[in-house]
Every structure is written in C-alpha cells, then in structure tokens.
C-alpha cells in the first residue's frame, strides 16, 4: 500500500461529509425500525433477536460503505486519473491494497453507530470480549465488499455506478440474509444465500456471539471472496489506460 495515497484519499473523504453521514444514517434507521420493535425475549439461532438484527444491520452498513468507494473510483477513471497512476512507479498491488484499506476505514462509522444504538436503545448485553470480537469480525467482514466496490468502480461509468452499487447492495443484503434471517427463508433462497459473500460475513460475525466460537469455514469463504475479487480489480487496473 502507499501511505501518501491513503492519506490523500482519507482527506478527500473527510471533506465529503454528506457521503459519510448518509452511510451512517441508513443502517441506523433500519436497525431502529426492525430491531427496537422486536419483543424483548425473542431469539434467533441462540442469539437474542435484537443482537442478531444489530449485527446484521451493522454488517449492512459497513458493507454499503465499503462498496460505495466504487463511485469515487469510477469518477477518477473517467477523469483519466488511471493514466496518471500508470505513469508513476505505483505498483498495481499497492493501488488495490490502498483502495481496499480506504474502504475498510469507510466501513467503521456505520458499524460504530449501529453498535452504539444497539447498546443504548436496544439494551444488547454482551461481554467486553464479545463486543470486541463481533466488532472486529464485522469490520473485517467488509473486506470482500471493499473488493466488490473496486471491481464496480472498474466496470461502471460514473453515471451508472450509483444505481449499480445500490442494486448490488440491496440484492446482496437481501439474499445474503442481512435483512431477513436465512433460517426463515424458503429452501431455494437458502441455497442462493450461500452464493453471496454477505451470508458468510453474517455467519462469521454472528458466530462471535454464540458459544460455539468463530466459524472458521465461513471466515475462509470471506477471505476467498476477497482474494478473487481483489485479483479481478488488479487485472482491471492493469488493463485500464483510457484517456480522459
């Protein structure tokens, strides 16, 4: 990764407050609508229902935020920025890692606000180590979505990137069981769910809350998605030399 590039992108992102605020608003509203209205003693898969919804909406928020970086990449490419990068010694791997790290940073604010809402309004009770594990795992679960954002940024045009990202986010969240628990889906949907990275990130995050401990199988699937999508992003970066 390139430190100067990451700092440059962080400063630009911080100036763009509307995007940051919106990334926090959406998941917290969804959490308040779906989470707070649940009966107090409801549970799902051995986890209190409200904690389950909190983790799902936290994941949804961090995933949308991570994927949103595709919009910036598409706009940069449209301005011929990739040519400039290609004319510097910056390595494609360093570029991809820098952009993925930026997406990971974007994934933090929505996660934090949803978890805070869970603590304050949802009265979610977890041990300190559970909080830390679920937060870390949910955060790193955004990795494949950071890579998806990168790939979208390389296939979409600036005017199509928003609808593509929006649709992809909704489909992945809905089919991956972030909005409705997979256990409550019909069996065909359950199979489809397993094709989305969101199912596996959700599994990994929620596994942090159960007695059985971290689901390493799910974790490996998440990492697999990240590596494959990251490689696609890398190839696209190498191929892209378009003029402004």
């Amino acid at each position: 990764m390139n430190r100067d590039y990451l700092i440059f992108d962080i400063r630009r992102t911080l100036r763009n407050r509307r995007v940051l605020i919106f990334s926090m608003l959406m998941p917290i509203v969804l959490f308040l609508i779906f989470g707070i209205t649940l009966p107090k003693d409801a549970s799902e898969g051995g986890i209190s229902a409200i904690a389950y919804v909190m983790v799902s909406m936290g994941m949804f928020g961090s995933m949308s935020a991570a994927m949103s970086s595709g919009g910036v990449i598409a706009a940069e490419r449209d301005g011929g920025w990739n040519r400039t990068l290609r004319l510097t010694p910056l390595k494609p791997q360093a570029y991809v890692i820098t952009k993925v790290l930026l997406s990971l940073l974007l994934a933090i604010p929505p996660l934090v606000v949803v978890f805070l809402a869970g603590l304050i309004f949802g009265h979610v009770h977890l041990s300190a180590s559970q909080w830390i594990t679920v937060a870390l795992v949910s955060w790193l679960g955004a990795l494949p979505f950071a890579a998806i954002g990168l790939v979208i940024g390389y296939v979409a045009k600036p005017d199509s990137v928003q609808p593509i990202t929006g649709l992809a986010t909704m489909l992945i969240a809905a089919f991956g069981g972030l909005w409705l628990p997979v256990s409550q889906m019909p069996s065909l949907m359950k199979h489809i769910a397993q094709l989305t990275p969101a199912y596996w990130t959700g599994q990994t995050s929620r596994s942090a809350l159960t007695q059985s401990g971290l689901d390493t199988h799910a974790l490996l699937v998440v990492l697999g998605w990240t590596v494959v999508l990251g490689m696609i992003g890398l190839r696209r970066f190498r191929a892209d030399t378009a003029r402004a």
Partner: protein
C-alpha cells in the same frame, strides 16, 4: 551527460478500427535532445506518445526507453509525463495532488520546489476544479517534473493556454531543458517547435515526413498567403506574377501563395480592383503539404 539513447521506436504501427493512426514510425531520441513532434491534428502524435509510454501496445514494431520497456523506465522514475487533458482529480487541492504524486515516485524533488518551478506556489490551497485551463496545465507540468526524470514527455502542453501563459510555460520549460533533461513534446504550433526544440520531427498520416532542425522545416514553408476579393480577376495574369506559386479562387475571392508577397500586393493594389486584402504567414498545414509534395515528387 552521456550520449546514450533515450528512446528508440522501430517500425511502430497502430490501427484503431479502420484508421491507421500510426503507419510505421522509426525514431531515435538521444539523451539531452529537445525534440518537437510536430503535426496537424490526427497526424498520429498522441498515439505515438502513448506507445512510447507503454499506455498503448503497438500492433507491430518495438519501443525501447533507456534500453528497456517503457514500463521499466517509468517504474524506475526515469520518465515524467504531462498529459494533454484529464489525469487529475478535480476535488483535490493543488498542494495535495502534487504531494501525492511526489509520494508515488521514488526520488521526488521537494513539493515546494515543484510548485515554485511550475509557478503555482500561490495555488497550493486551491481546489483543482476552480482553476483555469492554463493553471491546470501548470499543475500537470509540476506533476511531470516532480520525479526528477531524465526524460520529460509533454503531449500538446500549451493547449488551452492564452498567449501570456504560453510564454510563461515555455520559460519554465526552458529552465528544465537547461538542466540537461531530454524532452519530447507534441505540438501543432510551428512557432513552438521553432522556438524551443533542437530538432523537429514532422508527422502526417501516421508517418514521419521530415526530421531535422526547425530552420530546415521552416525553409520549406517560407512565404505568405494573400486572400483578396478581386471581381473579374485574370487568373492567368495573377499566376504569371513573379513570386506567386499557386492561385485558387472561391467565387470572387482569390487565394495566392507567394514566395514574395510584397510585389504581389503592390500589383494587386495598383492594377486591379482588389479589396478586403488579408496577408497571413504560411501555416503548418502548408509546411506539411509542401514537404509531402516534395517527397511524393522525389519518390
């Protein structure tokens, strides 16, 4: 400076669909040379530069930069590039952008120095999107020199600049060539090639049609063009005047290409009813036509 070779293009071609953008270019640039790639729009200058930089892969032929591939030379920080348009981030501040580009290179000059040399130190806190075309070109220039490259490549660097910024730009550029850097710039202004290049490579229809000093190129385009309204002009008479090379008409308008326009003007004013007379210098297109015509008759 050593006398090594900076750039070697050998039999390079590139076709886009049915358009042969570059139709076989051989070009060797020695270290320390300041070379203008001159030609009208569509001559293949930009495509040639893109192949030289490794942004476009030639259909045929080979490209070497400092003995290796363009990508190797760029990876080693030996090449600084100023693109014709785009290539910047509009919502970034000038200082941030230059600082970033410095961070992407291995041995950059201090950011403050690059800003000073490009004459944009006072713009460091301004956002790119608020800058004029000429100011943006200066930012691109700073991005080209910050790696302290051996070779600077500029694709039509003064496009969109007014006369004054163009002069300022070339003054900054001159300071770089004085440091012994090798420079290749594309332009469609003969005056720029004349004023700033040691060597002018003239392109047309994807080929190099002339390669020499600016004086050699200019010699083939000396002369003026006269445009005048002459009702009922005697074309044979006009064509026979000493110093007139070529006569064309568009209705009552007569176009004369002259080696010596003064005598022709004197004749027009005293012996004909010519009015609305304009005299212009022969332009690049004339130069290209003249040189191409010479080559065709020689072939």
């Amino acid at each position: 400076m050593t006398t090594q070779t900076a750039v070697t293009l050998t039999g390079v071609t590139k076709k886009y669909g049915a358009v042969q953008a570059v139709a076989g270019v051989d070009l060797t640039i020695r270290a320390g040379e300041v070379v203008a790639l001159l030609g009208p729009n569509g001559a293949g200058k930009s495509t040639t530069i893109e192949m030289l930089l490794g942004l476009v892969r030639p259909d045929q032929g080979s490209v070497q930069v400092y003995g290796g591939t363009p990508t190797d030379a760029i990876g080693a920080g030996q090449v600084g590039v100023m693109l014709q348009s785009g290539g910047i981030i509009e919502d970034a501040k000038v200082g941030e952008l230059i600082n970033l580009v410095a961070g992407l290179h291995k041995n950059p000059m201090p950011v403050g120095e690059a800003l000073d040399r490009a004459g944009i130190a006072d713009l460091a806190d301004r956002k790119m999107k608020g800058l004029s075309g000429g100011q943006k070109q200066r930012v691109r220039f700073a991005m080209a020199i910050i790696p302290q490259p051996d070779l600077i490549v500029l694709d039509e660097p003064t496009t969109g600049m007014d006369v004054e910024s163009r002069r300022d730009f070339w003054a900054s550029m001159h300071a770089e060539t004085a440091r012994g850097r090798t420079v290749l710039f594309a332009t469609h202004y003969l005056e720029e090639a004349d004023a700033y290049a040691d060597r002018v490579v003239l392109m047309r229809h994807g080929k190099v049609v002339a390669d020499g000093t600016a004086a050699q190129i200019k010699a083939s385009v000396s002369g003026r063009r006269i445009r005048a309204t002459v009702p009922g002009a005697d074309l044979a008479m006009l064509a026979s005047l000493p110093g007139v090379r070529n006569v064309e008409t568009r209705g009552d308008v007569v176009l004369l290409q002259c080696a010596d326009s003064d005598d022709t003007l004197r004749y027009l004013l005293t012996n004909t009813s010519a009015h609305d007379i304009e005299v212009t210098s022969a332009d690049l297109e004339d130069a290209v036509l003249a040189i191409s015509a010479e080559q065709e008759s020689a072939a």
